[in-house]
Symmetry: C2
Subunit: 357 residues, 2 copies
């Protein structure tokens, strides 16, 4: 504590990222990283860049990368997206923080599930918002009708974390339609592993803002890139904030690497498909071991065993060289969140479980 900290810093409880222990080599299934490296084309691009140009500022508008992302979605969805509809940030957490600062006034209500990404309550506190947590139902599903006609902003992770369960596009659309004057933020960090993207709603409704990240499906956790897709007016607001906060957030290497990642769509599809296959094989084996496994559309699964307490299993797995994530929180303290690694990673995980159960 320092007398110079302001009132907020004195009371805030910061977010706690997944542990990154350095004591030994773990099978690391705790921070939802992609087990596959970035595309070889990305690696080659970085190695062949003229790094002498690092003496010069990057393009503060990040125009080229925004254009590539806009073109990608234009093709994918067969609708026109412009670069003015894309905002790029230093990881999707930065994009989320800037969204809270751009669209929410102090004292506003912000609605999200009681069980969801644990950074939202931190943002709500940091920016003096009134959080309204809407309980997931007994099956950990979002009940969409509870979000209809609310008197505040809405942020929904889809698929939700750490539950892994996705809403369908028409369910999200109902929430959007039933709150025409409220901004609906859809955080799609895990969408590429089996859920439907709400990018399809962006040109149809003016109150949808979709956030995606390079950290999971693009194997780029170590690079820090995230983006938001919305109407040009909404994105302009984010840029107004960015240029009032930090003009040059994306460095030259990240810009070029990000462009290359979007260009190599084959690799992107191949690795995501592989992760989904590994997930389904893993789920099958876990069910045979007596686990309850929620229906995952993500690169992680959320599991519980009726005989062994999740907190104990977490510790025993760690002692055996396998890191998973455990949240000692209401309703989910008997669950583990397990990232889907390679087939080999998951075989080791199952093998350790076999011993520990």
């Amino acid at each position: 504590m320092s007398k110079f900290w302001n009132d907020k810093i004195k009371e805030i409880e910061p977010y706690v990222p997944g542990e990154q222990p350095k004591d030994k080599k773990y099978v690391k299934l705790n921070t939802n990283e992609n087990p596959y490296s970035p595309s070889e084309k990305v690696v080659e691009k970085i190695k062949s860049m003229n790094l002498k140009d690092l003496k010069l500022y990057p393009d503060p508008d990040v125009s080229k990368l925004r254009e590539v992302i806009a073109d990608y979605f234009s093709k994918k969805i067969s609708e026109k997206f412009t670069k003015e509809q894309i905002f790029v940030g230093n990881g999707s957490d930065e994009v989320l923080a800037l969204i809270f600062m751009t669209f929410f006034n102090k004292g506003d209500k912000v609605y999200y599930p009681d069980i969801t990404y644990s950074f939202y309550p931190v943002y709500a506190d940091l920016f003096d918002l009134k959080e309204v947590k809407i309980p997931l139902n007994e099956n950990f599903k979002i009940e969409i009708n509870k979000y209809f006609g609310v008197d505040g902003h809405i942020i929904i992770t889809n698929p939700n974390a750490p539950t892994s369960i996705a809403l369908k596009l028409n369910e999200i659309e109902k929430i959007v339609k039933n709150n025409p004057t409220q901004l609906i933020v859809i955080d799609e960090a895990y969408v590429d592993f089996g859920a439907e993207s709400s990018v399809k709603l962006v040109n149809k409704y003016d109150n949808v803002l979709v956030v995606q990240t390079f950290s999971k499906s693009r194997s780029f956790a170590g690079m820090r890139l995230g983006y938001a897709i919305g109407s040009e007016n909404i994105i302009e607001g984010l840029n107004r904030l960015k240029f009032s906060f930090n003009s040059y957030t994306i460095d030259r290497i990240s810009i070029e690497a990000g462009i290359e990642s979007f260009k190599d769509d084959d690799y992107f599809v191949k690795t995501n498909t592989k992760i989904i296959e590994t997930r389904e094989k893993t789920v099958k084996k876990l069910k045979e071991l007596g686990f309850k496994v929620l229906n995952s559309s993500a690169n992680f699964i959320f599991i519980s065993h009726n005989k062994v307490f999740a907190g104990d299993l977490y510790k025993n797995l760690k002692d055996n060289g396998v890191l998973v994530r455990y949240f000692a929180k209401d309703r989910i303290d008997n669950y583990l969140r397990v990232t889907i690694g390679t087939d080999e990673d998951m075989e080791i995980f199952i093998e350790k479980l076999n011993k520990l159960l």
Copy 2:
């Protein structure tokens, strides 16, 4: 404008970075970039990194880079600095923004010169602070006694921008001593080009926070790295905010490149010395051409001619392929800020001036 923007985004005037025109190749003396590339060792490090690891999150604590910076200053100043005294951010603008969010409460007063880095008024507006602008004297110098015993936070760029004039260490120390209960932020973006660093005050006074950047003296504008040095308590506050805003701000490549930059001190000293030499040669020639040149301790100079209006000169130089920075603002609208490039850059600049005057 969008109905979803909050009150602040509707009214704020964002910062305007120096122009980066792409229409033709300019001698670019407008954004205070370093004319020399980063050290070859930095370039080699990036090329030899295992980029496959980009699939994994970087260390959110940025421990290794913070240690290297702490060790560097421990040696340079012959005093012990710990990594807990170093905060690393995504460029020094991000560090500054986070400082405003960590130490200043809404409604607080914040003091800075009437002519200084034009991002401070944007931050003051963004975070609802009361700015108190203290006029520089008629020679564009900071009058330190005007900062004694003030009822608010103080932020001083040293050397100041765009004036290029530095305060001496004992002058800064007097401001620090005369405000023991206020945090004094010293923004040293340009300190390595001839000013004395206030890092020497950090272990002596608990109310000093020094900000430096890789963008200028470390030839890393394209990479985005900045840092703050202060007491462990003060830095802990910044980390509390960081982990409430964006946990992973520094990517894996930036961390390794930043470490390598601090290791190659010979190159750092050599390029900075060269820029200072080029500056002094340029100043001499400009004075011969009838320019008034403020006494620079930076990698830029602030110049005015009694016969030709600075705004016209800016335009004519641009038409002739030389970009400098012009601020159409009170008191400085007959001045140009000119970055020091290579000897060759400055010869072209002088040659064009010779034609235009």
